[in-house]
């Protein structure tokens, strides 16, 4: 009897975190036309930043949040200016961003070693909801992710900047003719995407162990979400996150946890085979 509720609650929590993390990756592809293979390392970088600020510098939470988000925004803008701008829609893009990820990973190992670091939960303990024990930290992370997704929706669909983002995603040249500066919009999107990876790391780091390779499974996940939901599709990415999140929990709880990620990846192959443009086959519009 408890199993459907376990799948429901854990599926909800997992999907919201997946969505928050993957939407940034999807936006970058939709707007800047960049498959950012370094996206996982931004998540890792933010997690190490959180670790350093919380456990080494002993900064309070609000200051940590501000510093991490500001750093990730700065990182996103610099990343766009130095590298991404010159690589848009080029074949070398994946290889270059992949190499950036590897170099950043080696740098992290050089600074922090391969020690599996851990930080304390901001909301320790757990609460029972309808007989299911939920970790307070995960509930807080899910609620924050939900609120941020709402803010993101508002930003993309209800603001001038959102309109500019969608315009550049549709047709860069036409947007330019309408007086939109695509460079500025793309830099903003990269900053937004990196800060989303940073916030996801802020929410997830206390639940997990911080290691230099922690970003790779997240990158795989983002790829999966984007392929399933359609490249650059905001709502598609959110729906795909829920499909993958719930499938993951279903297989973990009812079949075998060893197969959960493999099943998610098999689903992507199936979608790519049946609908190469993703389940929804549209982009930001």
């Amino acid at each position: 009897m408890a199993e459907p509720l376990v799948v429901f609650f854990y599926g909800l929590v997992t999907s919201l975190i997946f969505a928050l993390y993957s939407v940034g990756f999807s936006l970058v592809f939709g707007v800047a036309r960049v498959i950012d293979a370094a996206y996982g390392i931004w998540y890792t970088t933010a997690a190490y930043l959180v670790y350093a600020l919380v456990t080494r510098l002993l900064l309070p939470l609000p200051v940590t949040v501000v510093v991490v988000v500001a750093s990730m925004v700065a990182l996103g803008i610099s990343y766009y200016a130095v590298l991404v701008r010159g690589l848009q829609e080029k074949v070398e893009m994946i290889m270059t961003t992949f190499l950036v990820a590897l170099m950043a990973q080696y740098l992290i190992v050089a600074i922090f070693t391969n020690f599996p670091w851990s930080i304390p939960a901001l909301f320790p303990g757990s609460t029972q909801v309808l007989g299911v024990s939920l970790f307070n930290q995960q509930v807080a992370a899910a609620i924050t992710a939900f609120l941020l997704l709402l803010v993101l929706w508002y930003l993309v669909y209800r603001t001038k900047m959102g309109l500019a983002i969608r315009a550049v995603a549709q047709d860069k040249e036409a947007a330019l003719l309408m007086g939109i500066n695509p460079d500025r919009v793309m830099a903003f999107t990269l900053a937004l995407s990196c800060s989303l990876a940073g916030i996801a790391a802020l929410l997830q780091a206390p639940n997990s162990v911080i290691s230099p390779t922690m970003g790779w499974p997240m990158l795989t996940l983002a790829f999966a979400v984007v392929v399933l939901g359609g490249m650059g599709d905001f709502f598609g990415a959110i729906i795909a996150s829920f499909i993958i999140g719930f499938s993951y929990q279903l297989i973990t709880n009812l079949v075998n946890p060893l197969y959960s990620m493999a099943a998610a990846l098999a689903m992507i192959l199936l979608v790519l085979w049946l609908r190469p443009r993703g389940l929804f086959g549209r982009s930001l519009e």
């Binding site: 376990v6 190992v109 391969n114 020690f115 599996p116 939920l134 639940n207 290691s211 946890p257």
Partner: protein, 442 residues
Amino acid sequence: MATATSSKPSRKTLYIAVGVVIVIALIAAAVLVVMNPFQQQQKEIVIGLSLPLTNPVGIHARKAAELAVEEINAAGGVRLKDGVYRLRLVAEDTNEMDPLIPVDQGVAAFKRLIEVHGAQVIVGGVRTDVVVAQTQLLSQYKIVYLDIESNQGIVEGKVKDDYQNYKYYFHFFGGGPKSSAGPLIIGFLQRLKDMSAKDPKMPDVSKVALLAENALWTVGLAGRPAGNSTFFKRLADLGFKLVYAELYPTTESDFSSYLAKMKAQCPGVIVFLFSGPPGIIFTKQWQDYDWSPCKKPIVFGPGLLGGFSWFWDQTQGKAQGTIWWPSTVRVQVTPKTVEFIDKFKRRYGETPNTAAIDAYDAIYVLKDALERAGTWQAEELVKALEQTDYVGVMGRIKFSRENHGLDFTYENIYRYFGQWQNGELVPVWESTWPEIKNLLIP
């Protein structure tokens, strides 16, 4: 106009040139004799450390090996047939504690140690699959391999079945035919069950949950599928009931679902087999989990990291009450045990983990065997290692032609089980004790 004949060097010039070459050669020879670099090279034995050098296991093992080499060299080095040799360490990073790293990296590191650094003996080994792959090359290189931390008797078995190819391998950790952790763990669980039957505050330990990482080293104890092993059949014979058994991927980052499924069965003890970072997440989540209406189960972990001093810090004290094997409890197993633990702690500021103890003992066992063999050549060294009967930090280490591994019938730190209590690993049981002592119920 110059002719071809006039452009040839004169005989005098040739004599001068030859003379200059001879003088340079003589000076070079004199310098070489004075500096004697070849003799220096001959007077060194190079030990190759094959370890995950940025992981706590490898870091501690390297530090302990450096300590041992420093002590041996300071005490005059190693006396072989043709003189006194100094020990020198070289190291390569296998990165083997990262589950995403394939065994190839460990094999490449092993080859580099021999081919690039000129290692004459290898000390290292943590992940079983990496060690199995590396030891397939031993007969090719004819080099002795002292395995300090892999947790399976696979290669010890190969020494028996294929002596000529695997005789170079010696094992300083449990998992071999005479050092199986299984009987120790069963003994501990039996005492825990007896205790829980008498104490109403304790959970019902006869109900066992098994959670194991999906790695080669857990195959023997956990079985495949999980729970299908001689170990669990033996537990069933002793009145235990396996109520939950599952494997988790080595990249797992959330145990909520596992805990929910366990809670549905109200186990009294969770046998938790882990050696990687997810163990930290599991321990934190187990402590924070709302187990009502069940009693919080006891976590007992045969694994590598739980008994490490930094595990307490990384779990922010949530490891309180967890029980681990192996544990570097501060117990005078031999006259050298506490002395080494204190020495290591003074120098590096941390309690040494088991890899440190094994590496330290391995270097001293090697020194002992080198002196008996009178050479570092593998064929002779293997024979000398097979005569080892050495009392080290961990306990008594006795090898023979038939047994290249530890023997837990002799005193050994691996016979102890430790529980985290307020930042200290407190010994709660040793395999000869009739009952558990000083147990903290979580």
